[in-house]
Subunit: 354 residues, 5 copies
Amino acid sequence: MAAVSKRRKKPAGSSPGSVVYVGVEKNTPVKVTRVRYSGDGYEASRIVDPSECRPDSSWPGVDWFTVDGVHNVDILKTVGANFGLHPLVVEDIGNTTQRPKLEGFDGYYFLAAKMITYEARSSKLKSEHVSIVFGQGFLVLFLQDPEDLFSPIRQRLEAGRGKIRASGSDYLAYALVDAIVDYYFHVLEEIGERVERLEDEVVVNPTVNTLRTIHDVKRELIALRRSIWPMREVVNVMIRDESPLISKDVKIYLRDLYDHTVHVIDSVETMRDIITGTLDVYLSSVSNRLNQVMKVLTVMSSIFIPLTFIVGVYGMNFQYMPELQWRWGYPAVWLFMLALTGVLLALFKRKKWM
Amino acid sequence: MAAVSKRRKKPAGSSPGSVVYVGVEKNTPVKVTRVRYSGDGYEASRIVDPSECRPDSSWPGVDWFTVDGVHNVDILKTVGANFGLHPLVVEDIGNTTQRPKLEGFDGYYFLAAKMITYEARSSKLKSEHVSIVFGQGFLVLFLQDPEDLFSPIRQRLEAGRGKIRASGSDYLAYALVDAIVDYYFHVLEEIGERVERLEDEVVVNPTVNTLRTIHDVKRELIALRRSIWPMREVVNVMIRDESPLISKDVKIYLRDLYDHTVHVIDSVETMRDIITGTLDVYLSSVSNRLNQVMKVLTVMSSIFIPLTFIVGVYGMNFQYMPELQWRWGYPAVWLFMLALTGVLLALFKRKKWM
Amino acid sequence: MAAVSKRRKKPAGSSPGSVVYVGVEKNTPVKVTRVRYSGDGYEASRIVDPSECRPDSSWPGVDWFTVDGVHNVDILKTVGANFGLHPLVVEDIGNTTQRPKLEGFDGYYFLAAKMITYEARSSKLKSEHVSIVFGQGFLVLFLQDPEDLFSPIRQRLEAGRGKIRASGSDYLAYALVDAIVDYYFHVLEEIGERVERLEDEVVVNPTVNTLRTIHDVKRELIALRRSIWPMREVVNVMIRDESPLISKDVKIYLRDLYDHTVHVIDSVETMRDIITGTLDVYLSSVSNRLNQVMKVLTVMSSIFIPLTFIVGVYGMNFQYMPELQWRWGYPAVWLFMLALTGVLLALFKRKKWM
Amino acid sequence: MAAVSKRRKKPAGSSPGSVVYVGVEKNTPVKVTRVRYSGDGYEASRIVDPSECRPDSSWPGVDWFTVDGVHNVDILKTVGANFGLHPLVVEDIGNTTQRPKLEGFDGYYFLAAKMITYEARSSKLKSEHVSIVFGQGFLVLFLQDPEDLFSPIRQRLEAGRGKIRASGSDYLAYALVDAIVDYYFHVLEEIGERVERLEDEVVVNPTVNTLRTIHDVKRELIALRRSIWPMREVVNVMIRDESPLISKDVKIYLRDLYDHTVHVIDSVETMRDIITGTLDVYLSSVSNRLNQVMKVLTVMSSIFIPLTFIVGVYGMNFQYMPELQWRWGYPAVWLFMLALTGVLLALFKRKKWM
Amino acid sequence: MAAVSKRRKKPAGSSPGSVVYVGVEKNTPVKVTRVRYSGDGYEASRIVDPSECRPDSSWPGVDWFTVDGVHNVDILKTVGANFGLHPLVVEDIGNTTQRPKLEGFDGYYFLAAKMITYEARSSKLKSEHVSIVFGQGFLVLFLQDPEDLFSPIRQRLEAGRGKIRASGSDYLAYALVDAIVDYYFHVLEEIGERVERLEDEVVVNPTVNTLRTIHDVKRELIALRRSIWPMREVVNVMIRDESPLISKDVKIYLRDLYDHTVHVIDSVETMRDIITGTLDVYLSSVSNRLNQVMKVLTVMSSIFIPLTFIVGVYGMNFQYMPELQWRWGYPAVWLFMLALTGVLLALFKRKKWM
């Protein structure tokens, strides 16, 4: 997940609506696939030419195109032209730093979202830009990477079970966003487990590394929060909008989805609170350790420094030191020193320093 | 109480509205009980078959079903079908991580809540998912665990006293939610007592354990807050909704309930403020202890290190050290050392280090 | 002032509207007094039987009853029945943990407030539950304790001067709430003086006790805030409400009262900010003291430890140590040690450690 | 500037609308001056009797009275009666702790504000209560102190230039409030300079005094914020109000004034953020200094304590210590000690403790 | 970027609407340039006399004037008079501390903005005051400094490509503001890189300088936030306003621009969160270092102080010390000391202090 600020590489003052791919450079070819379905029929997924990615009023159901890559500007332009998309929409599709948003236009909706997944190898969050354009009878899905995270939905379509086959593109859009939000729950679970491990570690064995991990988890939560907050707004606008493109029936599902986004936000906030508490425990346990170290030093010093003084006294070479000639001088000094040590130890015990 | 994030175990992209039990696995059988009452009559609680859990327009009063377990998906589906519930509602009933919410449908309301209780054994908070579906003449209560926390209400019904027998299912729903909120007060009381103990402990005898407890209480408050905040919204929506399912008369009671939820929130926030203050006192008292330890070390060192030096001087073996031959050399050194100690003690006293 | 959470002792699930006294147990008898006034006449305060506490349409002015104790449930029920109060209202009157609120019913308003006073003996805040029910021609004031904090108002009535005699029960309600808010100012003044003392103490002579006091003041401010915030809302609702029970003329006074509640809130927030700053100064001055202690330790150790080493060298008993036989060996060692001390002192001076 | 809470000295329960001077006691006489102007004419400022301070419909322009002192209750009452002011308005004029507010009455507006200035001598903020009552053809300005901070406005009137002569009392009120807000900018500038000095000091030479100054600046910002926030609301209400007393033309100027109040608030918030950052730097630099001190102590101790032990060994008086008889024992010990010192120094260098 | 508070140098009480240049003094001459374009034609940029900067209804397209300097008050007044600008607008153009705002007047809009750029030399932020006045067929751009940051827009006009040539002054205003917001992204990128460097530095090698840099970045983020927050409002008002001066078509672009401002705000907030976390890591790593230093001191002292005591014992000169005569006394002491050291080392190892 990019560290601090998503960068926008267009030169300042350049024309708005000019489509530029903003993101890590790539050379992989871009595939466009099509799935068609209606209440009665289903056409399996197949690769099509970008120019075929256009509205087709002859199909009674939904035409679902997937463009698996947004780094080929020409394809974006072709598809945009075919569906009559506003230049700004095509620009936003190509901009992988675009924040989640929903915009309604004549005849179609444009929806941008962030899919967050956990990369197994690096155990780091990965954020992927997802754009959805949908209207009467069609939906175009633009993915940043050609991974197929939405295959369960395709399987549901193929199986023909559930509500999805009988519904329009609005329900498909809902299903896609629902899958994205479901991924948030998976990420939250991972982070939740890390937080739990941290909570134990911070008490049992806090190291400098613990602090580093706390800081990392905090940043992941900030990143999650940044993606999910506008998502909530997106779903909310979909529920409120009076457009005929979103049926009343689907709005009940969107209400449920809204509830899920609130749940994610809520969990993120809760974990932020807990991680902050964990940091307090960490800092305090560092302080406690210092205290412990200092107590050992103080006890050792306070006992042996006076003793060293005493033996120093009888190491002096004065000619006239009567004690030195005493028969029991040496044992007497030992006794005195033992007594002193006892007194000091008792004192430190009472202060609970030992 | 589950630590960090309530987990939602459904695979991402799976069909919404598919009923899956989300929670700790269980094998206990699910009992469905029915209580019937009206202004005139009362039918005592008895176990019924899930298929009998359906609307019965022949009864003039209220039909109250209790399903004591949501881990049997078949029963949920049967009951859902009998009452014509939306698939998403049945899904939410089976999802024990569902946040509190209220949703109005044609002919019924769906209300999800969290019941928070203190487990006596572990002295930990326990959160239980409670779902209520109510409409004209019926109310179905879904409990996560088969404990009967609502028996006082059943007793009130049986006794036939109070407003409850003469009112509809809306009042019963109110009474159930009111009982849930009352449990919050009990939990708050427990936490309040722990906070008070902490406030004393932090001054009298702060240990690493104190910090741990502060952190635990903080987390419990976070959990409480998370359950009660949406609850307030639930009650607010019930008051505002213009549905005929909730009578004007019951709204006065809901207004009072709303007031109670605000009271809970208020207390939670106040305790959070206080616990934060307690943490400050804790940290500061750790600092103070360090200061005290360091003062002892400094006083001991500052007095005995110079003395040790002095006796070291007269422990030197130089041939020409006139002092060593002096008759009163030894007592003079002692006098000097006593004087020095006196001066240093006076100094430290003035600095209030002793 | 009750420490953390105001407790509500009713068992969960018990019938709402059942009147139970919630608070510290008491056995003092409850007195009901009546004051009557109108533009022309005034009937001095006298004790009446609870059953006489009922609306009396024969009196042209205002009938003001004061019930000085809410721990006698029977009296509350009697009065409630006489005035036709909603069971929930009577319940709230008996619940001393009730938050401030205003509720309008047919024919009367119910207003709950907290009176905050400083107990002279313990120098602690004391919170008292005050309930006011008022309607056309009557006002019933319920006090938690039989102290007469509203006697200045009674005196104004008796004196017959001012607007109060000529106005209705709405103005009397305003006057009572105004007196309550005035008490907040007095409490704020007390706290303000403590804060000022703290600000001096924290710089001149910070002790562990200072921290304790900071924490106490913080808690008092939290308690004040908790009482005054809903109070503002209460006054605001009174201004906004279109009920004929509150005349337009009185609303000008309520606007002024609203202004006062805002002033109190403002002062509380300001003091919270200042007390937080004071805590920072405290913590920092503790740190500074540690620094000072450590500097003394370091200077003492850094000077005498090397010296002790030097004298230790010449305390060694080697047979071949030429220095020991030197004529000026002893003075030379002294000179060297003095020079070393000088150098070290100069160094510490430059570092500003002395 | 009064430290914590502005005090309100009226006894609780006293009659609202009774005019009492709340503030520091004073005996200076109160002067009332009048300036009259219209598009054509201008009557220079002259002292008038309070009884002459009344509406005079014969003058076609604006009648501007200035009452320079609010501690003479009789004058306030006289003027209030002459202009038919509501008793609460007159009370607020005499209450120097009144928060800024605007209240519209029939025929006039009452506006309270705080003028904040820097006292040159004490370099402390001084807050002055300013009240403005204006209506068709008149404006009465009440000042807490007889200083003339508004003389530039009088000069503009006299010079006859600008918009002010041709406009009504609404424009004059705007001009007065604008002057007050302009003073905020001057105060902000002073504080800004102190903040800049602090930012340097905290890095170059932080002392306990630095902390004190940080705390003082913080409190001044809190005080400023408290005065300017309600001011914004005052201006906002003036813009929104549909009263004929404020012309549409003046509202454009008020919009500009609103902008200035927002600017002040913004600057105050920014400075608060910066001063908080400065506190962090301060605390951290105190920590750094402690670290430095401890390093010196540790280096000194770690080098000399082992050396002292070594020389102690050869100061022992055992009869059979072969080393003591060795010819090169003494130089060998020195060599060993030098080597040890070298190793330790190298080690500390590598740890960057020196 | 001016440190704390933008200063406003006008004397308090001076006439509003009087044009005064507020900013750093300058003597550079002010150039006024004009660019004209319409769907068909384009007139290249050329210098014109200020008096020629006036509306010209004969040109069918857009007349774009650029005044590159606001320190010449006469030119501002001339231009203001030519376009019939309100005196307050001209005042705001000359006030370089003016906050971003949008104000609609009859026939024109006034828009103030802050352009933020990174000065390459000093690596400091530079804030520049930009004012835009636009209406039907004209746009006047006032720049604080004569640098041409908007040349890409001029180039687009000249090239005649894109939407800009065919659109009105509203689109040009949008393009200018869009360019300003694009500069924010560039600044954010720079800061983002510094934050990333800081995050590494704070773990690898934290110095006092790190803290200073953290504080600096924090201040830059505060400054950015202060400029961009009102900017969002400006764009929002442009979208909402129903004025015919902004066409519906341009509003789609403004919606996109609004989205960008939200993105900037979002990134600023995220970086603030991260920089705060970085400060925590810094402070904690300072604490950790102190701990490490103290451990070394404690280990050294705890080992050698007892040893020194032991050798001191046998340095005493008592006549009767049997051990001194023992044949193996000396080796026995060494053995004992080695054993003690071993035990202590083992102990410290177990405590993980070494």
